[in-house]
Amino acid sequence: MIKVEKLHKQYGGLNAVNHISFHVAEREKLVLLGTSGCGKTTTLKMINRLIEPTSGTIEINGKNVNHLNPTDLRRQIGYVIQNIGLFPHYTVEENIAVLPHLLQWNKPKIKNAVATIMERLQLPYDLYANKYPAQLSGGQQQRVGLGRALIAEPAVILMDEPFGALDPVTRATVRNEFLQMEEIQKKTAIVVTHDIQEAFEIGDRICFMDQGKIQQIGTAKEFIFHPANDFVRDFIKDQQFYLLLKSLTLNDIIHFLPQAIKKDEGMVIPLTESLYHVLDKMTSRGEDHTGWDTKNRINRQINFSSILGAIAQFKTHQSG
């Protein structure tokens, strides 16, 4: 879907982005992760040509973006940025309708599309359409920003620290809502963040950058079990356990869990659930569970000690 080849950007003598290449598959969410100044934002902005590359090519659906008119290109790509960048002199409705106006849709179509997307974003049209951005909370503003990016149904969306302006609590909520939206799930997305947890939560794959170069690109599991170098290992060190729980599912460790003593006891948990969620649920309920899979008819003991034991065995197994 998106193909980046030997992309390079030089500022003065500095290589902001240094000959990087990567692919993003259709519907995949790729996260560009790294500290500030690593080149992730520059890379993102070269994709919709807010920044022109020094050399290298970017193709979207086989078309070289440098052969397209930048304005037309950007109208086909959703774009969400950290400070949201809502137009303060436009109402919510006008903000969301900016692109349809530029594309000269007719009025009923615009209104219909705005109302639909606002409903999806849990911003009831009647309540919010005529409000100005300054009258909204941070989370609501972020949703309007998403609405503006999504209204023309772009196949690709680019997001630069999309939740960066929100407080941690709101941030987690909005992010979860975002990930569960059908509109998002069927899109190809490139998301820039400096937050490791966020990266692993959103990304199907993570592209970890430093000093303009890709240090490692891969899934969460690959990062944890096969870090490409010491730099990567060091970067994720403090988050190791969290990332492990987030990236592993019951399925991964199912063979290391002891068999249930009694069948069909406790609660049924889908095996695709991350270990983090499983432990989270158990913390709030405090009971043993049974992992249950209708297809394979597997019953396993699921409690704190069985999970921790299974993880240890899984790790040994991976490295062995």
């Binding site: 037309d72 137009f87 303060p88 900016v98 692109l99 920003g145």
Partner: protein, 518 residues
């Protein structure tokens, strides 16, 4: 509240004229403002796109603001003549800086994430500018317009010096004629106008951006109409007169001329310092001057014969406060030596040397005194300090220098000169307040501007300059404790003048012939 009553009377009596001046004043301000917006705002936008030009453009517009307004108006005469065009150009230049600067800053200060997301959503450069940057910069741009409007209301008062009208006519006329109600009739509306512009633009500035866009559009269109209206060509008389404010207002000036000759010229009011320049630049054809003026010869002007004797001749003398005479009688003795010593020809010649040959007034005065054997080296500076003032034209400068040389040569006192005081009222008030001790004055001016007697008294005195001088001297001593020393000798009278070639061409030698040529 006698003054208040006088003010109300004046305003009631002159309400037509006042309304006309207010409209002219608003016209000057709005048109120049409109042009400054039309040119300054795009310029401000342009320099946000080409940063290299920014400091250059803002630098140049700042320089315009540092030029003293009266000097800028003076520069305009050779370019555009006199009247509203040069005044509008000068006001436009003043208004440019705040508008260019605020447009630049306003657009620069638009949050970069907002413009980035505008580009990101797929707006073109032009759409980002018109849909996002300009609307968001409007409150700041309005701030610039507000500043410019207030500056222009103030500077527009000076426009009356170059015949552009406006409330300056009352203000400067009032200063020249020692007429406080007249000054106030100009100054109060000017101040109110400034407050009105400031206040109403402040209200607009706080409007939400979407409404502000409409307001800005409506304002631009209405200003464009006002401009067109202002410049609509009007039928012009063949000869145009440029008179200074004092001549326009004094009973023995233009009003008397109208009465005696039935003369009705198309007149504009011009500052005394710019009047000759305007005549020389063919901007006006007739001006009011003095019979002894050196520029008559210097600029090849023809003095029109006052065949019906409408301008009474006046004596020239030193005005001196009585307390100075009491304290330093030797000063009076020194100045008395000049009594009757300067005749018309000598004064005209001296004015010519200063106006045309560009000699310094001090050299000219020294040479004259040497010829009369009145010149003496300075005695010393052991005595007190005497301050001598003068009005802002050559003859006054020369006489002030001459008084100074006589005092320094014949007394131990030191003299300080305060030259170029703006007009009769300023000189006289300075003398009264003790800021200056002596200045040269004309008996007719003393009568008409300071004493302002009834018509009956004026009639009694008319035609007898000796009697008039005595009357004025007595009144000054009684009312103000100021004395007139014996006249210097030459007569000074108002005169109408034209450029010699034009006058010869039209065959105009006298004011009567001027009247019949209209």
């Amino acid at each position: 509240m006698d003054n208040l009553q006088l003010f109300i009377d004046f305003v009631t009596l002159q309400s037509d004229k006042l309304l006309e001046q207010i409209i002219e004043h608003i016209g000057l301000t709005l048109i120049s403002l409109f042009l400054a917006v039309v040119i300054g705002a795009p310029l401000g936008i342009f320099i946000t796109r080409t940063k290299k030009a920014a400091s250059w453009v803002i630098g140049v517009t700042s320089v315009f603001q540092t030029i003293p307004s009266i000097a800028l108006l003076g520069f305009m005469i050779p370019l555009l003549g006199i009247g509203s065009e040069p005044a509008i150009l000068a006001l436009f230049l003043y208004a440019l800086l705040p508008i260019v600067r605020n447009t630049f800053i306003g657009i620069e200060e638009v949050d970069s994430t907002i413009t980035e997301s505008a580009f990101g959503v797929g707006m073109s450069q032009f759409q980002v500018l018109t849909k996002v940057e300009i609307p968001l910069a409007l409150p700041v741009i309005f701030g610039g317009i507000r500043t410019a409007a207030v500056i222009n209301v103030g500077v527009a008062t000076l426009a009356s010096y170059i015949g552009a009208g406006g409330l300056g006519e009352f203000i400067f006329g009032g200063i020249a004629l020692n007429n406080t109600p007249m000054i106030l009739a100009g100054a109060i509306p000017a101040a109110l106008l400034a407050l009105f512009f400031d206040g109403s633009l402040a209200v607009l500035q706080r409007l939400p951006v979407q409404k502000l866009k409409w307001v800005a559009g409506i304002m631009l269109i209405s200003c464009a109409f006002a401009t067109a209206y202002y410049f609509w060509p009007v039928q012009q008389q063949r000869l145009k007169a440029g008179f200074e404010p004092e001549f326009m207002g004094r009973k023995d000036g233009y009003p008397n001329l109208k009465q005696v000759y039935g003369l009705d010229l198309k007149t504009v009011i011009v500052g005394p310092a710019l009047m000759y320049k305007a005549l020389d630049e063919h901007e006006v054809d007739v001006i009011s001057g003095y019979s002894t003026d050196g520029r008559i010869k210097a600029m090849n002007l023809r003095v029109l014969e006052d065949d019906l004797e409408s301008f009474p001749p006046y004596f020239v003398s030193a005005l001196i406060r009585s307390d100075i005479i009491t304290a330093y009688p030797e000063v009076k003795t020194a100045l008395d030596m000049l009594s009757g010593k300067i005749d018309d020809a000598a004064m005209t010649a001296m004015n010519y040397q200063v106006d045309f040959e560009k000699k310094s007034p001090r050299d000219v005065a020294t040479a004259f005194l040497k010829r009369l054997n009145l010149y003496k080296m300075q005695q010393g500076t052991s005595g007190s300090t005497i301050t001598i003032g003068s009005k802002i034209f050559s003859e006054q400068y020369i006489l002030a220098e001459m008084f100074s040389l006589m005092i320094e040569g014949n007394t131990p006192h030191k003299v300080i000169l305060k030259n170029g005081l703006g007009g009769t009222k300023i000189c006289f008030n300075a003398l009264l307040a003790g800021e200056i001790d002596i200045y040269p004055e004309y008996s007719g001016t003393g009568l008409q501007v300071i004493i302002q007697p009834t018509d009956y008294v004026v009639k009694q005195l008319q035609g007898d300059k000796e009697k008039l001088f005595k009357y004025v001297a007595n009144q000054f001593k009684l009312k103000y404790q100021i004395e007139w020393l014996p006249p210097l000798g030459f007569n000074n009278t108002y005169a109408l003048m034209m450029r010699e070639p034009q006058a010869a061409n039209l065959g105009i030698n006298s004011i009567s012939e001027l009247k019949s040529s209209l």
